[in-house]
Every structure is written in structure tokens, then in C-alpha cells.
């Protein structure tokens, strides 16, 4: 761990992401800043099109940064990212039906990153990775179409963890899953974080998920940052912005109807 200060393992400053040129120009993200500390779980909340996923994609280099800087371990990230960066930062995608190659077995999916980075003992690592996410060895040589959505997402998590990264970027990891499976996957992610001391950046439109998973969060709307909150502030309804309060009311209303605990 070479983080110079505990304050910012990842530090995003005035991030801007612009797609297209001229009249087709879309400013997906405008001036977003936040810090994620080592071992922390940080949430980004917003409605569809608020630019929350784009922030995540900008961190890992899938979206172009047009303004501002992203710092990881005290160093500004350059495009394209160095291979070493991917050993520290990995991502889990939203849709497990789209994030696994349809013609590759689970074994191939998990061994490929090991081959790319030339890690030793690939057999053992693949076996352990499957155990860690609660899938048995019976899944190893299956194809994705032989798995359910929840099992696929577990494979995706195993793939992200197999390089033993410090940071996991989670892009709505449960929104494509059934409600019962959602809880399973969230609990798995929580357990893995505590076991391995991982840092999470979680993107979700679901305040309940973020409140369950994250200690701090930022609320986004129309590509802008609305406000930053801690979990306790969220639970005590201490939001200062109108938009956040509306979001809270909306999620509470859903909760009252759905699960009365």
C-alpha cells in the first residue's frame, strides 16, 4: 500500500466527460469531485442518465476524461492506463448477461486475466476464486448460458477479484437481478470486502442498496454533483438539497409498500 495519505486512495477532481463533437456534444459529467479512502465503501447515487456510471467508466479508463484529474495512490492517471493499474482496480458490470463472453467457459473467463498478467498457479487460483464467491468446482467448465443471472454475477465478481485488486468498481451490480438474488450478491460483496479489506466504489440508483453498502455517498443529477452525505446523515434525513430529499422520499415510499421490517 503506497497511498501517501489515508484521505484519498482515489481522488477525483472537477471531472468532466464529454461525448461527441459539435451539435452532437453531450456533457455526461460536469465538474464532479470526491475522494475515496483506503478500505472505504463509497456510493454514487442518481437517476438514469445522471452520469454516475460514466464517472465509474472514466476512473477505469473506458470513458474519455475531457476535464479534471483522477488520482490513484497519489498519482494522476494517464490514458491509456498501464497494465499494472488493472491489477489494482477492477470493475463489475451491471448486466451479468452481457458481461461474460458467450463462447468462453467459466474456466477460460477466470484464467485469461491470470495469463495476461503472468500470475503463477492458475489452476489453484481459479479454484479458489470460485470457492470465494460461493460457486463449486462443478461450475468451472460450464458456459455462461448454463448459469443463472445470480451465478453469472458471481462469476463476474470472481473475475474482478482474481487479480487481487485493492479497488472494486461496482456498476449497479444487482439491478439486473431478482430481489432475492440481490440480497445474496450484496451480502457476498460485503463479506468479501471485510475479508480482503477492499475499497468499493458502488454506483446505484437504489438508495437502499447504497445505504446498506456504503459509508459515504455522493448524489448526482444531470452530470453534476448535488451533495455528499454520510450514511448516518442519510439515515437521519439530514439531506440539505431538495433533490436528495425527494430521492429519499421516493425510496422510503417504495420501502413502506414493499418490505415492512
Amino acid at each position: 500500500m503506497t497511498a501517501s495519505n489515508t484521505k484519498g486512495l482515489i481522488s477525483v477532481r472537477d471531472l468532466g466527460v464529454t461525448f461527441g463533437h459539435g451539435t452532437n456534444e453531450v456533457k455526461a459529467v460536469r465538474g464532479v469531485s470526491f475522494d475515496v479512502a483506503q478500505g472505504e465503501s463509497f456510493g454514487i447515487v442518481g437517476e438514469s442518465g445522471s452520469g454516475k456510471s460514466t464517472v465509474l467508466r472514466a476512473i477505469c479508463g473506458l470513458a474519455p476524461t475531457s476535464a479534471g484529474t483522477i488520482t490513484f495512490q497519489g498519482e494522476a492517471l494517464k490514458a491509456p492506463r498501464q497494465p499494472a493499474f488493472y491489477r489494482d482496480v477492477q470493475m463489475v458490470f451491471q448486466d451479468p448477461y452481457a458481461s461474460l463472453h458467450p463462447r468462453h467457459t467459466i474456466d477460460k473467463v477466470l484464467s485469461e486475466p491470470l495469463a495476461i498478467h503472468g500470475l503463477d498457479d492458475p489452476e489453484g487460483r481459479v479454484e479458489r476464486a470460485l470457492e470465494d464467491v460461493g460457486l463449486g468446482q462443478g461450475f468451472r467448465f460450464r458456459f455462461p448460458h448454463q448459469l443463472s443471472g445470480g451465478q453469472r454475477q458471481r462469476v463476474a465478481i470472481a473475475r474482478a477479484l482474481i487479480l487481487e485488486p485493492q479497488v472494486l468498481l461496482l456498476d449497479e451490480p444487482t439491478s439486473a437481478l431478482d430481489a432475492s438474488i440481490q440480497a445474496e450478491v450484496l451480502n457476498l460483496l460485503d463479506a468479501l470486502r471485510h475479508k480482503r479489506g477492499l475499497t468499493y466504489v458502488l454506483v446505484s440508483h437504489d438508495l437502499a442498496v447504497v445505504a446498506h453498502m456504503c459509508e459515504r455517498l455522493v448524489v448526482m443529477q444531470h452530470g453534476r454533483e448535488v451533495e455528499e452525505l454520510t450514511r448516518s446523515a442519510l439515515q437521519h434525513h439530514e439531506a440539505t438539497q431538495e433533490y436528495t430529499r425527494n430521492l429519499l422520499v421516493a425510496s422510503e415510499g417504495f420501502k413502506a409498500k414493499g418490505t415492512s421490517t
Binding site: R87, H101, E112, P113, I116, F141, F143
Partner: protein, 304 residues
């Protein structure tokens, strides 16, 4: 494999125990699906007969394909039990020539597939994956090749390189890759922004690994289908070059060249030109039927 488990169950296992079992199981499922299609099986049968005829040509053919019998008594005999398809103007047994000609046909088909498919795949996936100026340059080159009529371009190549079956193969291969490049590019464009490609990019994979290991396997099935369907056209082009005297040279028993030599007596001795024509027709049909069946199995989009 334990004694109680049949081979079929082993292949269809939902929990394969090894890489090999997973691969074989997948191949077996495809085969079972293909087997349901009767016409594809007919096509596969024709192709298999062609392959067997090519391998065992020496055993099957009753006469020498190159040197004929007595020129005074055995020329242009009609089909009979002694000469199943009759004899030509050099007193050679046409059936023997067609059986030996299957070797040339198969060689043309195989060589063109081996040369043109990788070129098309490489150009198409590279253009599609990188986009931008790489795409522009590669696809404009492809367009130039596509703009020429195939036979005319093949003619030009043969004229430049000299007639002969090898040069005909090169000429056909050079003119047949552009459609595969187009197809592979179109497939790549739909694949390249998929999450699983982003995922492998995030694992730190280079462009070469992504294109070869992740994009090509997904383009493969539609390209295989297209190549199989094109086989008929390739055989016809080879026959056409042979007919024009620019492909296989006499006395090689190439089917197109045989039609050309039979053309002179087509009114009085119909079998000389007709028999190789039937052979070309049957083999082309076989590849087309097989290609249709493969498309239904390998390309679920087209089947719907």
C-alpha cells in the same frame, strides 16, 4: 468415465469436469441440432462423397484419367456398363476423369477457404475493432476489390500470372475475401462495445488478444456459413476459368475444362459436356444445402 455413464450423457453433462469435455459437449450439441435438418444431411453426404472420391480416386476410377483407350474404336462412346459416363474425344473414360477431377475441385475449394477466410477475418475484425482511419483505409481497399466483377479480376490475375490451377486458386482467393471482411467487420461493430469486451480490456488485455481470442470466435460462425455457401460460387468460378482455358490445363481432368472440351460435340455427343456439368451441379448443391443447415445451427439470428 465410469462404466454406468453412457458416452451421450458424458457429452451432454451440465457439469463438465474438464476443458475437453466442455468443448466436445458443445460440439455434440451443435451436431445433434444439425442432424435434425434432413437437407443439411443430404448436403453433408454429398460433400463427404466428394471427399471420399478424392481420397480413393485411384481405387474407384476404372480407367486412367489422362490417357485414353484405342482412338479408333473407343472415342466418344455413349454411356454403357463398360464406360458409365461414356468416353470423350480422346477415348478417355469420363467417369474416371470426373472421379479424379474431384481432387482438383476439392483442392480449389480447400485452398480458397484456407487463404481467403483468414484474410477476410483479419481485415474485417481489425477494421471493425479499431475504427477510425484504420477502418477507413481497410474498408476502402475492400471496396476496391469488391467493385471488380469476380471472374474478370480472376481473369486479370491469371493473365498476369499465367494459366494453371495454382494461379487460378490464388486468383479466386484474392477475389473472394472482401465479402468475408465486410461480414466480419459488421459483426465486430456489434461486438466491440459489449460489456464482455470492456471487461477483458479492463483485465489489461492487448488489442491482439482481444481481436483473436474474443472477437474472432464470435465472427467465426457467420463467416463459416458464408464460406460454405460461397463454395458453390468458388467451384463455378474455378470451372469457369477452366472453361476459358485459364484454369487447369489439359490433360488435367478439371470439370470446367472438361465441359469446354465437350462443347464442340454437344449436339451429337451430349454426355461429354453434360456429365461434368452434373458433377458441378451436384457438388455446388451439396455445399449450398450444408451451408443453409449450418446457418440455422450456428447463426440463431438468421434462423428466426
Amino acid at each position: 468415465m465410469s462404466a454406468g455413464v453412457s458416452r451421450r450423457d458424458w457429452l451432454l453433462s451440465e457439469q463438465p469436469a474438464s476443458r475437453r469435455q466442455a468443448k466436445l459437449g458443445q460440439a455434440y450439441r451443435t451436431w445433434v441440432q444439425l442432424r435434425r435438418n434432413k437437407l443439411a444431411m443430404v448436403g453433408l453426404g454429398i460433400v463427404l462423397v466428394l471427399v471420399l472420391a478424392a481420397i480413393f480416386a485411384d481405387v474407384i476410377a476404372p480407367y486412367d484419367p489422362l490417357s485414353g483407350g484405342d482412338l479408333r474404336t473407343a472415342r466418344l462412346l455413349p454411356p454403357s456398363w463398360a464406360h458409365l459416363m461414356g468416353t470423350d474425344d480422346q477415348a478417355r473414360d469420363i467417369f474416371s476423369r470426373i472421379v479424379h477431377g474431384s481432387r482438383l475441385t476439392l483442392m480449389v475449394v480447400a485452398m480458397v477457404a484456407v487463404i481467403a477466410t483468414p484474410i477476410g477475418l483479419a481485415v474485417g475484425t481489425t477494421a471493425g475493432y479499431f475504427g477510425g482511419w484504420v477502418d477507413t483505409v481497410l474498408m476502402r481497399i475492400t471496396d476496391i476489390f469488391l467493385a471488380f466483377p469476380r471472374l474478370i479480376l480472376a481473369l486479370a490475375f491469371v493473365a498476369a500470372l499465367g494459366p494453371g490451377i495454382e494461379n487460378a486458386i490464388i486468383a479466386i482467393a484474392i477475389t473472394s475475401w472482401p465479402p468475408y471482411a465486410r461480414l466480419a467487420r459488421a459483426e465486430t461493430l456489434t461486438i466491440r462495445n459489449a460489456d464482455y469486451i470492456d471487461a477483458i480490456r479492463l483485465q489489461g488485455a492487448g488489442s491482439g488478444r482481444i481481436i483473436w481470442g474474443h472477437v474472432v470466435p464470435l465472427c467465426m460462425s457467420s463467416v463459416i456459413v458464408r464460406v460454405t455457401l460461397d463454395m458453390a460460387g468458388i467451384i463455378l468460378t474455378a470451372a469457369g476459368l477452366g472453361f476459358l482455358g485459364l484454369g487447369a490445363q489439359p490433360p488435367q481432368p478439371e470439370w470446367g475444362a472438361m465441359i469446354a472440351s465437350g462443347r464442340r460435340f454437344i449436339i451429337d455427343f451430349w454426355w461429354v459436356a453434360t456429365m461434368p456439368g452434373i458433377a458441378i451441379f451436384v457438388v455446388s448443391l451439396g455445399f449450398n444445402l450444408l451451408g443453409d443447415g449450418l446457418r440455422d445451427v450456428l447463426d440463431p439470428k438468421a434462423a428466426q
